[in-house]
Amino acid sequence: MPLNTTTTPPFVAVLVRGLLAGLIAGLLAGTFAYVAGEPHVEAAIAIEEAATHAEPAAGAHDHEDALVGRTGQRGGLFLATGLFGAAMGGLLATAYVLLSRRRRGDDDGRSGLLLAGAALLGAVIVPFLKYPANPPAVGDPATINQRTVTYLLMVVLGLVAVWAGSLGYRSVGAQAPTWLRATAAVGGFLLVTAVSYVVMPSFQEVPADFPATLLWSFRLASLGTQVVLWTGIGLLFAALMHHERRRRAGTALPST
């Protein structure tokens, strides 16, 4: 009996590993965000509160609300990244299982790593370059619904761009040289990305007196949080799948 028939795990086994990888990666991302990002959030909130006190009618997102204090919000950071990570890890595992139809053999988590890289590029980096993360005190509350919808749309378009890239890669044919396949991939990706950047609306809502260095530091920390999240999901998921395959292969062939 070929080894592969017994080493392909069922959906639930893959899903549990994706959720676990996502939860751990989310907590790691939360730790990174806490260390690298929280000081900038605090600084931005201080600016926001100074503005609100000077102009009480502004009535922005009220961070002084007693519902959850600042200590609670800093702790809630780990809840947010942990739950979000688990959700993303589970979705990655689902995509992994769906794509396993196309795989020719036991890939040992390689396609899990590729999927995490694709998600980082399509669902994080492409939207981030169009709609970068904003700290408190940046952004007009009046446009929050519009910005939320366009952000989600940009995530979808980013994933479509990655899909177009992979389509370009495969459309050239396996006989084509690697540079040609890579060029087709980059071309497909850039075409969709450029068109969506032009078509989607832009928002210029950074207050003129908001410190540029604080904005840059916050955005870097925010991007870093997502990079830690998706790198962690990819590596942990691949490691867990590798372990699972070895375990199943071991029970199937006890003589080895």
């Binding site: 922005a60 997102h61 959850v68 809630g76 809840l79 947010a80 299982v97 795989r103 925010s222």
Partner: protein
């Protein structure tokens, strides 16, 4: 496993319609979870703004539009 295993070296578990509903249910639940973290303002979770405010810093640092 199946009798065709000798001619087909690899058996793909996902190649069946059997997985359709589990996959759809999983995607729905996980999308809802991500929504609760990233966007919900109490409309779905019915916790008022409590969860929204609790996960406020996470939303900002994950890069989601917040306010």
């Amino acid at each position: 496993m199946s009798s065709s295993a000798s001619s087909q070296p690899v058996v793909h578990p996902a190649g069946s319609v059997r997985l359709l509903w589990p996959v759809l249910a999983t995607v729905a639940v996980l999308t809802l979870l991500a929504y609760l973290v990233a966007f919900d303002q109490g409309a779905v979770s019915r916790s008022g703004m409590y969860l929204h405010e609790l996960m406020h810093d996470g939303r900002h640092l994950l890069g989601v539009p917040c306010h």
